[in-house]
Symmetry: C2
Subunit: 223 residues, 2 copies
Amino acid sequence: MVKQERAARTRHALIQAAAAVFAEEGFVTASLSTISRRAGVSNGALHFHFANKSMLAEAVEAGAAKAVRDITEAASARQGDSLQTVVDATHELMGALARDIVVRGGFELAGDCGYRGECSLRAQWQEWIEDTLRGAARNGALAEGVSWADSARVIVAATAGFEVLGGDDASWLSRQNVTRFWDVILPRLADRRNLAGLASAGTWPQPGIPAQDRSSLRASTEQ
Amino acid sequence: MVKQERAARTRHALIQAAAAVFAEEGFVTASLSTISRRAGVSNGALHFHFANKSMLAEAVEAGAAKAVRDITEAASARQGDSLQTVVDATHELMGALARDIVVRGGFELAGDCGYRGECSLRAQWQEWIEDTLRGAARNGALAEGVSWADSARVIVAATAGFEVLGGDDASWLSRQNVTRFWDVILPRLADRRNLAGLASAGTWPQPGIPAQDRSSLRASTEQ
């Protein structure tokens, strides 16, 4: 049991270290010895868990895919097919890109032309945005004349932009930046009757953020 | 004179080949012999023009930066500080990313963690968007309650997204995709009185595109 726990901890440390090295150096340059050193384990321990660099990359991608799935499933469970669901999930995903090195590493691998993985994080995110907005349109939550498909493309493009620009400048991933994006976008996408009920800063319970800071949209539309 | 022409042609072929190889394989993997073979010149000719791979990358970035400058300067000269200027330039830049391998290669290098260049194409584009929208706001072209800075961030993020997603799926760079983006965005950003005069498909003279296809926004807002 203790042995199993130690093995799981080593595996976890290797995936974290690999994600950081892939994000900083790219897949091609990343060396297994840099990764094992960073994880604080021997090369032998690395090879016990991962036969080669591609298998480490697959583990990073799988970890990122699971994080994206957790974020989108939790948002859908809380808010159903609505614009608020998408707002909340974009805040969560950008927060994960800023804080969780496995999520950052997974998306870096998705855009790394030195690595061709099987897993498409961006496609996973895009499909969920499309499904949720299709449902929101069915529920009458979108403004007249705005298609769910066009709305999805705007959101998918902007979030891909935040992800990429956020690699150099983390302010693109900040709560404030994502809130401002939704302050601009929601009045165009949302059905008029729903707009006042939407919080562009998200409705996710976040420790340390006073509730009044989450309703900048409502404040700005009431002016 | 003939000698100078031949040298210029060889240099041009090397930059094109380098841009293509950087875009496909990334900076680290790209080899000088792949680049010279692709350009149809000897390794010696490559080394006569470029001392090393970084100097080739700098030439690709400089070529892309010039293309971006040409696009933005021409748009500004035609339309001044207006939303139409930004619409036109985004169409042109996405078209250049689809058609001009030096522009594609330059932006790939900008996002390549294996290469750290001096030149920042994305910053150049962002500054121009900000300057133009600041001017448009001064001219009363923006809707009330919408700030030029927030508008700029939405456009910069979305175009960075198109650029990155377009590397795998060129439809993100298409005229149709960019037009749909503006169909969603313009009614939110533009002053009501200006909206009918804006063409989300761009006003750039483009050979082979009938004029009526350029006014989808006008058509959709008249419904």
